[in-house]
């Protein structure tokens, strides 16, 4: 057993909420009942005013910080920013992290048993949108007795949820913290997602999404999807710095085995993804990204889409993020200040690409922490 660092929330246990109230989805589909798996860190204060909701991104989960067992190789996905004394200080805030429906980490998703058939949902699981997640997270807030979040926070697809919270429930959050996000995907973003989906959909082991019944999974497709994803998470510069053209074993073998270090990296990422992630969930999550566009109902006018927002916001981007570049965050900032809302924006110099939002970059920590001070006093 290895020692858990003192600035970690330590050992944590997920909780489960069974929601019997049907959820009407954006697609028109209905989930008659569903499970939400979540984790909490810190203590909810008497006024129930210090709760912070953390929304996860494409492949994330409710396991934001800490360890499930002392043998865990890795802590939660945002351990760098959530814990005692960290950007989101669990000594001051009651942190709630919810696994989104459609996921494969415990909340109801395509691999869950469909009560109507007794078999896994597979392709019958309805498509879910960012709005649907917000709706289900609001049910969780109700269950936890949280009428207003001090802040809703997220990076990437999680940031989109924070923005949608501010639109859908203007009075239920005081602050939205939107990190490395975009107000909608570009054609290029959708194109990458489509290639990833095609890799999965055309894998012979996909079986129209019913691969569970065949005791298999579309490993090849999921691997390619993940490799493609990882290319978009890193910047050209950081790839050059990390891998360059370094060759394994120092010489070319003139075959299709791993030659360059970057190939080894991508294969490793693919290998560790398969077995822990569900191909149907990958399809659903990328679709939720593609469909995200809060300005769709206001003829593409994001400022009008945010007209009901009341929350103050912090918007952060990273200079080397080409998946959701700074300019995309600026669109969100503009729509917020067009509505005379309190908003601050910082463009953080970081070479890491989109993945920077997961990292502990000193300047990122400074700003994040300074803003959370404001959240705490307000």
């Amino acid at each position: 057993m290895k020692a858990i660092p003192p600035d970690s929330v330590g050992l944590v246990t997920p909780a489960r909420l069974r929601v019997e109230q049907p959820l009407v989805l954006s697609s028109g589909g209905v989930l008659a009942s569903y499970d939400l798996v979540y984790e909490t860190y810190g203590e909810l204060d008497h006024a129930h005013s210090n709760a912070v909701l953390i929304c996860h991104a494409l492949s994330g989960s409710h396991h934001v910080a800490g360890y499930h067992s002392a043998d865990d190789a890795k802590p939660g996905w945002w351990e760098q920013h959530v814990g005692p004394g960290k950007s989101i200080d669990t000594r001051r805030f009651f942190v709630v992290a919810c696994n989104n429906i459609g996921s494969c980490y415990g909340s109801t998703g395509p691999a869950s048993v469909n009560p109507a058939t007794g078999r896994p949902y597979g392709p019958d699981f309805p498509m879910v949108t960012v709005r649907d997640w917000v709706e289900s997270q609001a049910r969780l807030a109700d269950a936890l007795g949280i009428t207003q979040w001090a802040a809703v926070v997220g990076g990437s697809l999680g940031g989109m949820q924070a923005l949608h919270w501010a639109i859908d429930y203007p009075t239920r959050l005081r602050h939205a913290i939107i990190i490395a996000a975009a107000p909608k995907l570009t054609a290029q973003n959708i194109a990458f997602n489509e290639v990833a989906r095609q890799a999965i959909l055309t894998d012979p082991d996909f079986h129209g999404g019913r691969f569970y019944d065949h005791n298999t999974e579309p490993r090849r497709g999921l691997r390619i999807a993940r490799m493609l994803g990882h290319i978009t998470y890193l910047s050209d510069d950081i790839m050059r710095e990390k891998f360059g053209r370094d060759i394994r074993g120092g010489k070319l073998n003139f075959d299709y085995q791993v030659a360059f270090e970057v190939e080894s990296y991508l294969r490793y990422q693919a290998d560790t993804f398969v077995g822990r992630f569900d191909a149907n969930t990958y399809l659903l999550m990328t679709k939720a990204l593609d469909y995200f566009d809060p300005a769709r109902e206001t003829d593409g006018d994001l400022s009008r889409a945010l007209a009901r927002v009341q929350a103050a916001s912090l918007v952060l981007s990273f200079t080397s993020d080409w998946r959701f570049p700074s300019a995309r965050s600026r669109e969100i900032v503009k729509a917020l200040h067009d509505n005379d809302l309190d908003v601050s924006y910082a463009d953080i110099k970081a070479p890491h690409g989109h993945d920077a939002f997961l990292m502990r970059i000193p300047r990122y920590v400074d700003i994040f922490r300074a803003y959370m001070e404001r959240v705490a006093v307000a």
Binding site: V333, H337, S344, K349, A370, R374
Partner: protein, 199 residues
């Protein structure tokens, strides 16, 4: 109030209560915080420097990190009552363009800048060297101040750009007003302050 910088106090005097302000090059947010506390103004600061941005956030001032040289294109016409440019005009690439942008986005503009016509600067130039002073502490080769001007130069530009000066003041480096400054502003004023709008 007494320990506040006089240039900030003059600006605060000029600004109507409860107005909407955009402060370009807002530094650590002191001016906006002063204006919020004394005049109930709201708005945003624009700042490029990382540490200043963090300082603004710590103060609870809305700050947007961006480069003024990239312009104000994300702000709609007439979206603010005042656009303030405090001790920054001389450091931007296109002062003339920025002044135009200020009066597109705001109803009125307020600009402060170090007066290059200050007597000590003139003396140093006569001595054959670029002036270095408390208001302009850099050497010519490392200064961010690339567009220095005098009061007269600025007023000439206003005329050319069809900008109407509504009020002006000069203060010395300790941000004080003295009688001599009123008589010979372009000679004795170290810092110039102007409030203006489209003519």
């Amino acid at each position: 109030m007494n320990n506040q910088r006089l240039d900030f106090r003059i600006i605060a005097d000029w600004i109507r209560p409860e107005s909407r302000v955009l402060d370009l090059g807002c530094g650590d947010g002191t001016l906006l915080q002063t204006l919020a506390q004394t005049k109930g103004v709201s708005g945003y600061g624009i700042e490029l420097d990382d540490d200043h941005v963090t300082a603004c956030i710590s103060r609870g001032i809305n700050v947007i990190q961006t480069d003024l040289d990239a312009g104000l294109s994300e702000f709609d016409d007439r979206s603010f009552d005042y656009i303030i440019l405090s001790l920054t005009l001389q450091a931007v690439k296109y002062p003339e363009r920025l002044l135009r942008e200020m009066l597109r986005v705001g109803t009125e503009g307020i600009v402060t800048f170090p007066n290059f016509g200050y007597w000590a600067s003139r003396v140093q130039l006569l001595g054959g060297r670029m002036p270095v002073s408390r208001a302009l502490p850099h050497q010519w080769y490392d200064t961010p101040n690339i567009h220095l001007c005098t009061l007269q130069d600025f007023e000439d530009l206003c005329r050319k750009e069809n900008i109407l000066v509504l009020e002006s003041e000069v203060v010395d480096h300790e941000h004080r007003r003295r009688l001599g400054l009123r008589l010979f502003p372009n000679l004795l004023g170290e810092i110039a302050l102007y409030r203006f709008r489209r003519a």
